[in-house]
Structures are given as structure tokens and as C-alpha cells.
Symmetry: C2
Subunit: 267 residues, 2 copies
């Protein structure tokens, strides 16, 4: 499995039809789940170095249709990290205070500081997705936001925030099964939200909006990845693999002792 | 092992000399570590119900001398929870903005909302510990704070914030070993802070300040526990056991489907 294959090439046309939501990278489920356990240990070590080093932040952006597995990635992949070095923010319908600001304001406040891993469960991309599809703002407003997003993200990456953006790609039939599950399993009832059906009815419009965001906002520094997500085990493994590659590329080192503390004996 | 034994009885005199930092509850290490794995799965389930239910918050306060294991508890116990339902705050030396407010201000802002687990790595108790021992504020200021803390915590528990306060109890020799380790192990260098030695030199004064805080602020609703913490495996197991008891006492249930969504078939 090559992670580059799942990267949205900056400046190129793309279509989600070219990505198979059932893709399993030709891997075996059981074997891959075992590999994931080892990968998670490696991620834990890399994150401890990121935390100790305080030179970089890692920001993971999770987007995808309802039931695509954003919460699942938090539970099954992000759990690899020491929770003390992690801050997860779920962005909901904007509050009145948030609406009174520009759309990057609420996300900027919770960008992880150096040393930390931040996870955005939904993000500023909602402002070119739901806001576009549901006509919450007119085209002349949302159409300018792609540029704003690229500028904002460039500022972050210039400041050593490593950006990993994952679009979780499921198909409509998989969403149907998952929503029905929530209705039938008493331990899942709380996840069911009737308004999810409204978004489901606009599947093709959302898909078009996602394609625009992926195409216009995948950059060399802040690339988008399309993660086939019908198979949760493959989704987890692919994301963990990409995170490992990105963290390894930083060539993190354990910080040395500070001057004046070498050779001390504690009394 | 009875968890009540480790509880600081409200309104009673107590001395830390009565607690053995080496206490292992007469348990075996390997067996207990295996039990901890099962306990963590149970905690994960209970937390998912807390999250789904959104009626209670759980606030865990960790206090203890340097190297007593506050970070270790985050890594080894708090990791049981789904990270999406957890927010950890480490309180450092107050900033200028924090200093311009009353001492509960900075902690109040990050009290977990219903459904969430909050962890305070250090807390408002620093304001009757370091601020008392280091004479940062005069006695007439810090001596009023015990009452303020009890009032503040009563307000929280009245609002269904479940408070678990853990004092991690190590002895001076154990701290010596742990500090020396940080100087010798290259993967631990970043944890060594020369100012820890200044606090170590005032061991007895800190101990007295801890005893005052534990005695005056252990209440029926927001009790303090003294956690023997020389043995990390026992510390982890005891804390996980107490958390399980406190969460089980809430008798959490999976929320039912909302009206109008029963019997729906997804198209």
C-alpha cells in the first residue's frame, strides 16, 4: 500500500468517482489490525518526542459525510497518543458569538500549540461545505473562502503546524447501513440525529462541494488525503500509516539536558 | 483492597504519616496489571455512557509533589477513555492575565461540560500549596481560600460535576530516585527541571500544606483520596478502581431514540 496514492495532487483536477470507498489496499483484515497495534505504539513514541521537543504541532483535520467514521478515527487511531498531548475539538453548528466573527476565528483559537496534537472533528471546511450546499451564505461569500483557507493554512504551516487533512470516503449504501444500525442498536441510539437524513438527501451536492474543497485546498504543505472508509480497519490503518510518515519526516530528537544540569546528583 | 481506606474522612484530623507510600494493597504486580486492562475496558464503556447521556461531567484532580506520577496517570489510566470525551488541562505558573483574576477563574473556564471527563493536572489547590509555601501571597489571603474552594466545588457538584481528587503520595527517597532517572535517561532529560530541586528542599513544608488542604477540603461530595504512589502499578489500579466505583454509582443508561425516530427505515 502506497500512501501517496491517496493524496490529492495539488493543482490537479480530481473526481471522487476515481476512489473506491471499498478499497482495502489489497490487505488482509486480521493481519492489518495486528499491524495497527504496532503502528500505534510507534505513533505514541513519535508523539512523545513531538511533545518533549515543542518545535512542531500536528493538526489532523477530519471531514466526511455523517457516519463516515470521524468519531471512530478518534477512538481507534487518536487513542494511540498520550491523552495529555492531545486536544480534540468537535465543531458543531456555529454559536451566535462564532457567527459574529469571520469563519476562521473559532478554529484559530484552538489550533494546537507546539508540542501538541490537535484534532478537528469537522473544521473551517464546513464553511465551504454545509454553508455552500444549504445556501447559508451566498456564492460570492463562500467562493472567496477557498483562498482564505489556503492563506490561513499557509500561515499555520509556516509556523510549524503540520497539517494532515483526511476526507473519509464512504458510499451512499454504506451510510444507509450505518444509519440503520444506529436505529436498531440500543447502544447507538444516541448517535442518531434526524437531521442527518436531510444531508443524506443532498448526497450529490455535498459530493460536488467536497470535490471543490479537496481540489482547491490540497497544497504541498497542507495536502488532502482521500481515505477509503467503508472498511473501518483499512481506514484506521491508512490514517495511522500517513501520520507515522509525516511525523517521521520531522526527524524528531529527544531534547538534551539544559546547561548546568549535566552531572548533578540528587541529594 | 478497599477503596474507602484511601479516602480522607471529611471533618477529621489526618496525617500523611499514616499512609505508607509503598502500600501495594497486598496485591501482586503482574496479576494487578492484567486486572487493570479489564478495568480500563470497563471505564471506556462507562465513559461512553457518560458521553452519550450528557447528564454528568467527571472532573479528576491530580495533585502531588514533582515526579509523583500525575503525567503517568494521564498516560496509563486516562488513556482508557475515548480521547474525544476527555479534556486535560495542565496548570502551570499563572500568566499575567490569570493573575489579574481571582484564583478560581482559570480553572472555572475549563471545567468539563456534561458528558465530558476533565482532568486537572495540578489545579486551584496550587493556590493553597505553592502560593502558601513560597509566600507568594500572605497568610490572610491563602487562609481564606479553603472556604472559597469548598464553596466553588459545592457549586460544581450541585451542577452534576462528579469530583474525584487524588493526592499522589510518594516519599522523599522515591522522588530522589525518579529525579536521578531523569538526569540519566536521555529519553527523560526533557522532564528534568532544575526548579524541582527548590521544591524538594521544602519537602516538609509542602507536606504540611498538603495535609491542610486534604483535611479542610475533603467533603462528602468532593472527597480527597490519598493514593500510595511509590508503586506505579498500584497507583494506576487504585485510581482506576475508584473511578469505576464513582461512575457505576451514577447508574448510567443508554439514551433512547428521540420521539419520531422509532421504526424509521433509511432509504
Amino acid at each position: 500500500m502506497k500512501t501517496e496514492w491517496y493524496l490529492v495532487k495539488p493543482g490537479k483536477k480530481m473526481s471522487l468517482a476515481d476512489y473506491d470507498a471499498n478499497d482495502n489496499g489489497k490487505l488482509e483484515k486480521d493481519e492489518t489490525n495486528e499491524k495497527l497495534l504496532k503502528l500505534k505504539q510507534e505513533l505514541n513514541l513519535l508523539q512523545t518526542q513531538l511533545y518533549a521537543d515543542r518545535c512542531y504541532a500536528l493538526l489532523i483535520i477530519l471531514q466526511g459525510m455523517d457516519t463516515s467514521g470521524k468519531d471512530g478515527v478518534c477512538k481507534q487511531v487518536v487513542s494511540a497518543f498520550n491523552p495529555q498531548g492531545v486536544q480534540i475539538t468537535s465543531f458543531k453548528v456555529p454559536t451566535a458569538i462564532e457567527m459574529a466573527h469571520d469563519f476562521t476565528w473559532r478554529v484559530h483559537r484552538v489550533v494546537p500549540p507546539h508540542g501538541m496534537v490537535g484534532i478537528f472533528n469537522r473544521s473551517h471546511y464546513e464553511d465551504v461545505l454545509v454553508q455552500r450546499v444549504e445556501n447559508i451564505v451566498p456564492k460570492e461569500v463562500w467562493s472567496k473562502r477557498y483562498r482564505t483557507i489556503n492563506d490561513f493554512e499557509k500561515m499555520l504551516t509556516d509556523n510549524r503546524v503540520i497539517l494532515c487533512k483526511f476526507y473519509l470516503h464512504i458510499d451512499q449504501e454504506e451510510q444507509r447501513l450505518r444509519l440503520q444500525d444506529r436505529l436498531e442498536d440500543p447502544t447507538e441510539h444516541w448517535k442518531f440525529n434526524i437531521s442527518d437524513l436531510k444531508a443524506r438527501a443532498k448526497w450529490d451536492e455535498y459530493r460536488k462541494a467536497y470535490e471543490a474543497a479537496l481540489m482547491r485546498c490540497s497544497t504541498d504543505e497542507a495536502p488532502w488525503y482521500v481515505i477509503p472508509a467503508n472498511r473501518k480497519w483499512f481506514r484506521n490503518y491508512l490514517i495511522a500509516s500517513i501520520l507515522k510518515e509525516r511525523l517521521q519526516a520531522l526527524d524528531l530528537r529527544w531534547p538534551p539536558l539544559e546547561d548546568g544540569t549535566v552531572g548533578i546528583t540528587i541529594e
